[in-house]
Amino acid sequence: MTSRQLLIRDVLVLLAFAGWSLALPAYASEFVVSMALTCLMYVALSSSWGLFCGSTRYLSLATSAFFGIGAYSTALLLGDFGWVETILMGSAAAALVAVVMGAAVLHLRGTYFAVLTFGMTELIMHAVTYFEKSVTGTVGRVLTVVPERDTIYLTVLALAVLSVAVSIVVRRTRFGLALMGIGADEQRAQTLGVNTRWIKIAGFAITAAFAGAVGAAMAVRWTYIDPHTVFNPFIGFQTVLITLIGGVLTLWGPLLAAVIFSVLAESLRLQFPQIYLMSLGLLLIVCVLYLPGGLASLRWETFKGWWYDTRDWAKDIQRDLTGENEREKQRIKRREKESHFV
């Protein structure tokens, strides 16, 4: 497919997805809508995470920090400001923190970057807790003004669609190419003229802006907000897992995996919480070992390849068990011996 055809396909899939999600609250039950909301939240989080962290291979665990910052700004601002303004401010606050954090840690790579972003998340959480304790006197806040369920749903849907749309656009710009270059070989990209420092900070800020906005919108789901709920590192981990399993470099992988995950989460978490976490871990292991491109890289050929591999493996075991391998070796040895006499 040419690049233009791909663009048309992506936009059509996105529109279909958006239209279907838009129609969902009209006919589905309360439970399904709440599940769809979780779905959409993870779609927004993981596709915006993949936008920066996927293409540059900077594994950030700070998603929960940005999510929490967004949620807290809702707790502080909602009531004084309108719904949209609150979300915009939450998103801007998260992006601002990302710029500062990025300037400090984005020169590190690999494990160091991942650990430091995780550390920063903890730092922010404890700083907020300390601030609450010493300045306001109470830890946690109760949200009194809460918008309608449909408002929340539509907001998160808009954020999910926007994050996929931004991913589609960024892939086609110089900015996206620079991100890919940083992921492939950062120093080479620099010597070809990419100002990697600013590109990385900008990418990190975009990711954070989405996470902050999602946090700000989702905060109203809990009526009571405290640091340990909204800065829950599990949100960050889950975002990373979803994106890795879906396929970091793909556009639709994170979306696909987010849907699978939320369905798994909502249907298993209540009855069998251990099984949910185990299936998360198992899926990650299987993906890393056998499907490095993620779920979105699954093709008919992948299944065929697996089938051939299994068949050859079974054949080899069979030959081993019947002693055929041993006989083959002896035959070769005998032939070599005989060839000396010729």
Binding site: R188, Q190, T191, T196
Partner: protein
């Protein structure tokens, strides 16, 4: 040494690079004039690649000054050097393996080699050679047109070296730094590479600085040689004079220079 009337493209003043206690490059000064083809030689660990890293901005010098085309770039990032027309290749080819060959070339054209914004509708810079204006002509210059659509990981190592040069050319440089581009190539391939490098210099008016470990090959093709030894510059002269330099012979004693000494006659005019 020949006289140059044009101001130098790149001036390195007392460039020193220190890694902890190790002085990799020790107060090296050198000027590179437009249109020169300069070779840098030296035994293993002489600081050749570190000197390249310094003058391409990859490693910031511990002390010293770097001026490219009249702009002081000391301590600036590699993208600033690229923007001022300094392009380089790496010792082990560092192409973008998952991208097609043509996309590797286009990368440079989209960043350091991008047309300035004032030419967005019409016009072109006057000093950019025609060959460097799009990816397909760069590909045909380096001879990889047939491989354009293959992923860069799928072409042979010697083709990857050519691609590296193409990527560097796509930034539309004035100064091209080549780091051991002939290492591991066969005799015939080395000759082709040398011919390509001379063509770049002659037809595109590039200044080329060429590091090579194999001294004999290099001395045959360059007009000026800088010899580095233990981080210091011990000679900067024509190939014919360099091979007679006692300090150089001592540095290379028992090394490749032994065979180069025989070549003395060949090089001398």
């Amino acid at each position: 040494m020949s006289e140059h009337t044009l101001p130098p493209l790149m001036e390195a003043h007392n460039v020193t690079v220190r890694f902890g206690g190790l002085v990799a490059v020790d107060a090296v000064s050198a000027n590179f004039a437009p249109g020169e083809l300069v070779g840098i030689i030296g035994p293993n660990g002489a600081g050749k690649t570190t000197f390249f890293n310094a003058i391409s901005g990859v490693t910031a010098p511990t002390s010293g000054r770097l001026v490219a085309g009249g702009h002081n770039l000391t301590g600036r990032g590699p993208h600033r050097f690229a923007a001022h027309g300094v392009a380089r290749t790496f010792q082990t080819p560092r192409v973008f393996p998952d991208m097609p060959v043509v996309a590797n070339i286009e990368f440079g054209l989209k960043f350091a080699g991008r047309r300035p914004r004032k030419y967005i509708f019409w016009g072109e810079e006057r000093d950019v050679p025609w060959v460097l204006r799009d990816a397909s002509s760069i590909l045909s210059l380096i001879g990889l047109s047939a491989q354009a659509e293959l992923p860069a990981a799928a072409i042979t190592p010697s083709q990857q070296r050519l691609l590296e040069i193409g990527m560097a050319l796509a930034t539309r440089p004035k100064l091209l730094l080549l780091d051991e581009v002939a290492a591991g190539l066969t005799e015939a391939e080395i000759e082709d590479m040398a011919r390509l490098i001379r063509r770049l210099r002659d037809e595109l008016d590039l200044t080329v600085i060429w590091i090579e470990h194999a001294v004999t090959t290099l001395l045959r093709h360059v007009e000026r040689v800088i010899v580095l030894h233990q981080g210091r510059k011990i000679a900067d002269d024509t190939p014919a004079n360099v091979v007679r330099n006692p300090e150089v012979i001592e540095a290379y004693l028992g090394d490749e220079m032994a065979e180069s000494a025989d070549m003395d006659m060949e090089v001398a005019p």
